[in-house]
């Protein structure tokens, strides 16, 4: 017999969103995950945020798996995360890591919560009696909490704990606790675990205004808050319960709010020469929301140095904030805040647009605080014995943002890479899971395989008879809030209830056995279980039911724990039990009329199609192929490599794309799993989830080939934008950045003879007419070229005319380096663009210097234009072929700009790199890796389970108006031209119910949510209320 291989286990250290995403991806791939967090809870920064731009909603749940959703736990992510393969360990620190390359021993310090969540009944009387009050860190000290407390107000379960530093051990909480959940003497526990790989997702330390000297000029009042505290002031679970934003000091509505950017960041003097990347968008979003909450009379001003709207959709959001919401942006860093006796906050600033000083009073000042990365990186480097780079950050492999240099099996993601927005956190989490999976597949460890249990068909057509099982929940619920005997007797009286059983702990092994016994013997055909936290073990319970021959849709769970808890404060348990019984009746009615739902299984074609043979495409193809997935790699040009891989020798951060691409090409052609198709485009694709047929058209030979595949990754890249502005095309002295780069590399352009060089940024970009986006890389390109010129010819004067220098994150250091080298940066505005006149073939640049407020004229030996990045024109044809959409800017539109950046609404379709939006090479590679991982997890499932609960068409009622097709956000509905009817793709449908609402004829219905069921449930509810009122 073969030796049993161990199950691949990964430690994910840090349970913010990137860690959670990595954990979910790994868990979905069948690996065991230990997800730890040093704080008392999971969710990281995002637990505090109700809103993210651009939707200004939450949407965190969108990071949960979309396929087979009935098997996963679909639940509000800000409340909790449940996954069978993930062991969540909050309040746990990693104290040592031993071993290497796939065999790590990790010592965990599990801090004592002093409250056992398994026993706690969450009644909270302990909180009421606790005499100790301390500032609540979740609300940034804006509110108070007790020493025994719930760390996150919206957490479920509540997960109470005791703050050991604040607790006086008075014992009051112990006295009122009826379940003995509190042990004031509990000790921290040390546990050693073995894992095969480690993903670091701890995030970095954030700038703390109490800790740093440079904040003291601003933090002069409680009304000066950090941007995260401001989130809590806006949150519905925060200080003002989602209402009007007020001044913390006196509760007056905040009418004038100012944001100060770069608090703690972009500060060479304080040795923090980096940008924190996310604060500009954070401030814009907060300013928009403050306006929305407080009405148009709320005045919002952002004081900034460069408004760094570099990501996808950022520039549009900025323009909307300014044009539609009236958010004011002032390019001035203020020196400090003065507190006046009435609590108002005075600031003096210089407005470069009017060249005047202003003194204004504000009610609230928000400090946009950023990252303090070095401490965190040092800590991890010491623990892992990993190297730090020259910046003091964990060194990663040359082309990777994820792989820790020289440490196979160790990866980072999320804000350890520098503060990341949600989208990048998601991509990096998936990519880290991908790299970990790549690594684990080489180790020979096993994955957890789900036990396949077929959905039984018995009992379906019988009359409904419900068996009710009531869980006593061990000691937790006790008999305090509910009279089980009375409840059983009452429920038995209802029509349709065949039996009522009381089970001790349904979630434990004994409970499972008891449930099995009951189901084995019963003559009933439906099961209603009353227990706690239904979402936690729905999946397990449904499996138990299936084994016993029940269709899993015939099993429902209701929250008996909640009912019992409410009963504990009622004067009479007996009266409450009778009332509770009537609540349960509504659940019984709904279950009675529920049809048996069947999950269908579709096989997945195990082949992947990668569209785009640039570096990103090759990366995705190689990642899949080395894991054994056959890949078709399609490239419209005659050679692989794409724009970067053929045109760009060096990037500013020391990468060599051309060399890298030629290395990759070799690997691609050598790999037996990859079939390369050059000179062709995907013209049309038919088929559905898991099984596509794509028609490849070869433009040279005019031939077609048909490929069959189960997944597709679109990595179409982009190219330098075109322009006719600024005299381009009229003189060889006006050229683009790429032309300059190439010219200098080939020796055709000699920088030695240059005296004055002018570069203009954002040519045709970041404006409504043209590229309405930042191309993200042009500032770095311009700086790289300018530095090169200075290197060859230190005497040359190089001027870079910019609107905002977009050197986000650690790219800031190149901006600093450029200024050190004497490169002169001058700001211009969109309203006052530079003018170029050609005098005898030489460009003369005229522009307004916004500092000196004078018109400047400069004959340039060379004028270099940063014309941005255009998406591939073929994107439109590709989008049409696969039925996906493009953004206004002709990039591919992902499923969700924040939470699902590399997926489409359609399952099995992924995107990466510049097809998504312009981005630096390392980000392209990261996204490609993430897309490969998504495709791999999907393909390795071998088959896709459609959900039981999906939308159906009642054909007889349907008038073919097709409104449901238009409303469906998942593209699951289509019109069958042959059969002349509406069809639903069962795999694409996510049962959101939009079609059912839209349909005027009740022809669209979500199974399991029929009108009949709902009406019966409502009737039961109303009857109950009616009885109550007549009784009174």
């Amino acid at each position: 017999m073969a030796e049993k291989k161990p199950t691949g286990t990964v430690l994910v250290a840090g349970a913010g969103i990137s860690g959670i995403k990595a954990a979910i991806e790994l868990a979905e791939g069948g690996y065991k995950v230990l997800l730890t967090d040093a704080s008392t809870q999971i969710g990281g920064i995002l637990a505090k945020l109700d809103y993210q731009f651009p939707t200004d909603h939450c949407g965190m749940c969108r990071m949960l798996p979309m396929v087979g959703r009935e098997y996963g736990s679909q639940y509000c992510m800000r409340k909790s995360l449940f996954h069978e393969n993930i062991e969540i360990l909050p309040f746990t620190e990693i104290t040592s890591v031993q071993g290497d390359g796939g065999n790590y021993k990790v010592e965990l310090l599990k801090k004592a919560r002093l409250v056992d969540p398994a026993v706690c009944n969450e009644m909270g009387e302990c909180i009421d009696v606790c005499p100790v009050e301390v500032p609540d860190e979740f609300n940034h000290g804006l509110t108070k909490r007790k020493a025994i407390y719930q760390a996150i107000p919206h957490n479920t379960p509540k997960m109470l704990l005791i703050d050991r530093e604040a607790c006086t051990k008075c014992g009051e909480c112990v006295k009122v606790c009826t379940t003995n959940a509190i042990n004031l003497d509990a000790q921290d526990e040390v546990e050693t675990r073995e894992v095969h790989s480690i993903v670091l997702a701890s995030g970095v330390k954030l700038y703390n205004t109490r800790e740093f000297e440079d904040a003291k000029s601003y933090a002069v009042s409680p009304d000066v808050v950090t941007s995260l505290a401001f989130e809590r002031m806006m949150s519905s679970s925060g200080t003002y319960e989602g209402g009007v934003i007020k001044r913390p000091s006196d509760g007056k509505p905040a009418k004038n709010i100012a944001w100060i950017q770069c608090m703690g960041s972009r500060n060479r003097r304080q040795k923090r020469d980096y940008c924190s990347s996310i604060c500009c968008m954070f401030a814009l979003k907060e300013a928009v929301l403050a306006k929305e909450k407080g009405g148009p009379e709320v005045d919002t001003t952002i004081f900034y140095m460069d408004m760094r709207t570099f990501g996808k959709g950022f520039q549009q959001y900025r323009d909307k904030a300014v044009d539609e919401h009236g958010v004011k942006l002032i390019r001035c860093r203020v020196q400090g805040v003065m507190l006046k006796p009435d609590g108002s906050l005075e600031m003096r600033y210089f407005d470069p647009e009017t060249n005047e000083f202003f003194v204004k009073d504000y009610d609230l000042v928000v400090m946009s605080t950023g990252q303090i990365p070095f401490e965190t990186h040092k800590k991890w480097a010491d623990l892992l014995n990993a190297p730090l780079d020259e910046r003091g950050l964990l060194a990663t492999e040359q082309y990777s943002k994820i792989k820790i240099a020289g440490k196979p099996g160790l990866f980072i993601c999320g804000s350890l890479m520098g503060l990341t927005d949600v989208s990048e956190a998601m991509s990096s989490g998936i990519a880290a899971a991908g790299e970990a999976t790549n690594f684990l597949t080489t180790l020979g460890v096993d994955i957890l395989k789900e036990e396949e249990i077929a959905e039984p068909t018995a009992h379906e057509r019988e009359n409904s008879l419900v068996s009710v099982a009531l869980c006593k929940c061990g000691e937790k619920v006790g008999a305090d809030g509910i009279d089980y005997e009375l409840l059983s007797a009452e429920l038995l009286r209802y029509r349709g209830v065949g039996e009522v059983n009381v089970i001790d702990s349904i979630c434990k092994a004994e409970g499972e056995t008891t449930t099995n016994d009951i189901l084995g013997k019963t003559k009933c055909n439906r099961l209603l279980v009353g227990a706690c936290q239904p979402f936690m073990y729905r999946r397990k319970l449904k499996n138990v039911a299936r084994k016993a021959g029940f269709n899993s849709s015939m099993v429902e769970i209701f929250d008996l724990f909640g009912i019992a808890r409410r009963g504990m404060v009622e004067p009479s348990v007996g009266d409450w039990t009778l009332r509770a019984a009537r609540e349960v009746k509504s659940d019984i009615e709904r279950l009675k009329y529920k049809p048996a739902l069947h999950v269908s299984t579709l096989p997945i074609n195990q082949t992947a199609l990668v569209v785009g043979g640039g570096i990103g495409g090759m990366q995705a193809a190689l990642s899949l192929a080395t894991r054994g997935v056959p890949v078709h790699l399609v490239e419209k040009e005659a050679h692989l490599g794409g724009y970067l891989g053929n045109q760009v020798e060096h990037t500013i951060d020391g990468l060599a794309p051309v060399a890298m691409a030629s290395d990759m090409k070799l690997k691609v052609f050598e790999n037996k799993n990859i079939t390369v198709h050059l000179n062709c485009e995907v013209e049309k694709t038919v088929g559905t989830l898991g099984s596509f047929e794509s028609k490849l058209h070869f433009k040279d030979t005019n031939e077609n080939t048909y490929l069959h595949h189960g997944a597709v990754i679109m990595v179409t890249g982009g190219h330098e934008g075109a322009t006719t502005e600024y005299g381009y095309g009229t003189s060889d002295k006006v050229l683009t950045q790429a032309e300059l780069k190439k010219g200098m590399a080939s020796g055709n352009i000699d920088a030695g003879g240059l005296e004055n060089v002018v570069m203009i940024q954002c040519v045709g970009s970041r404006q409504k007419e043209g590229r309405h986006y930042c191309s993200r890389i042009c500032c770095m390109w311009a700086i790289a070229n300018a530095l090169k010129i200075k290197e060859v010819n230190p005497e040359a004067r190089v001027f870079i005319l910019y609107r905002d220098v977009m050197t986000y994150g650690f790219f800031e250091q190149y901006y600093t380096k450029a200024r050190t080298a004497g490169i002169i940066f001058m700001n211009y505005s969109l309203e006052n663009k530079p003018q170029v006149e050609m005098v005898e073939g030489n460009p003369v640049v005229k522009f307004m210097d916004t500092v000196l407020n004078t018109e400047i004229e400069l004959p340039a030996d060379m004028l270099v234009l940063s014309t941005g990045v255009d998406p591939e024109e073929s994107n439109q044809r590709l989008a049409d072929a696969f039925g996906v959409t493009l953004t206004e800017d002709r990039f591919l539109a992902e499923a969700d700009s924040k939470w699902r950046p590399i997926e489409f609404q359609k399952v099995g379709l992924y995107l990466a790199g510049t097809a998504h939006s312009p981005m630096p090479l390392k980000s392209v590679i990261m996204q490609a890796e993430a897309a490969a991982q998504k495709a791999y997890t999907y393909l390795s499932g071998r088959e896709v389970h459609t959900a039981g609960v999906i939308s159906k068409v009642k054909d007889a009622l349907c008038i073919r108006c097709q409104r449901c097709i238009n409303i469906c956000p998942y593209g699951a509905r289509s019109y069958d031209e042959v059969e002349k009817c509406i069809v639903v793709d069962p795999a694409e449908c996510q049962a959101c119910g939009a079609c059912a609402v839209e349909c005027q004829n009740n022809a669209a219905e979500v199974t399991g949510w029929s009108d009949k069921q709902l009406m019966a449930a409502i009737d039961a509810k109303l009857m109950d209320d009616l009885l109550m009122s007549t009784a009174e």
Partner: protein, 167 residues
């Protein structure tokens, strides 16, 4: 303004040749809390930095605002780029003094003459009344004063303008 004609590329080297100057990215921190920025014309520190970087010689020579600085050095403390603006202001004044004799502050002549910008230690009656000791000033010590003057005469601006010092 024509930068080709109206600017001297390496002027900054003559004025403020430190590694700090070029780091200025015009964030205006220096402006918002500067006392002399209330003046008319205002002292606009970041504009001075820009003029030096661009090499606007004539504009700089004619600029009086560096002399309005109160020397509080708050800009120095607050500048996120560590440009050391106060040192830059002194450097501009030094450059102006070296290139334009009318810029040479009269106070240095006073100092040359008696060691101080004003008469010190001559209020003997008042000092007596307050119970203060006699001050041993350099003004009253010809030998030391001569040493002091000879020393100063070896420094650039004093020696270049020796006629001002009765030399």
């Amino acid at each position: 303004m024509d930068l080709q004609q109206g600017s001297i590329k390496d002027l900054w080297k003559a004025i403020y040749n430190t590694g700090d100057l070029h780091h200025c990215f015009n964030c205006s921190t220096c402006l918002s809390g500067c006392p002399a920025s209330h003046g008319d014309p205002p002292l606009l520190v970041r504009n001075l930095a820009r003029k030096v970087i661009l090499g606007l010689e004539e504009e700089l020579l004619n600029d009086d605002t560096p002399w309005a600085c109160v020397s509080c050095s708050k800009c120095e403390e607050m500048c996120p780029m560590d440009v050391k603006p106060f040192e830059m202001i002194l450097a501009i004044r030094q450059w102006q003094s070296a290139n334009d004799e009318t810029r040479v502050p009269p106070s240095i002549v006073e100092i040359y003459k008696r060691g101080y910008t004003q008469a010190v230690g001559v209020n003997t009656d008042l000092r007596d009344k307050l119970g203060l000791p006699e001050l041993k000033t350099i003004t009253n010590n010809p030998e030391q004063l001569q040493f002091f003057r000879e020393m100063l005469m070896k420094t650039p601006v004093v020696s270049a303008n020796d006629y001002m010092f009765g030399g």
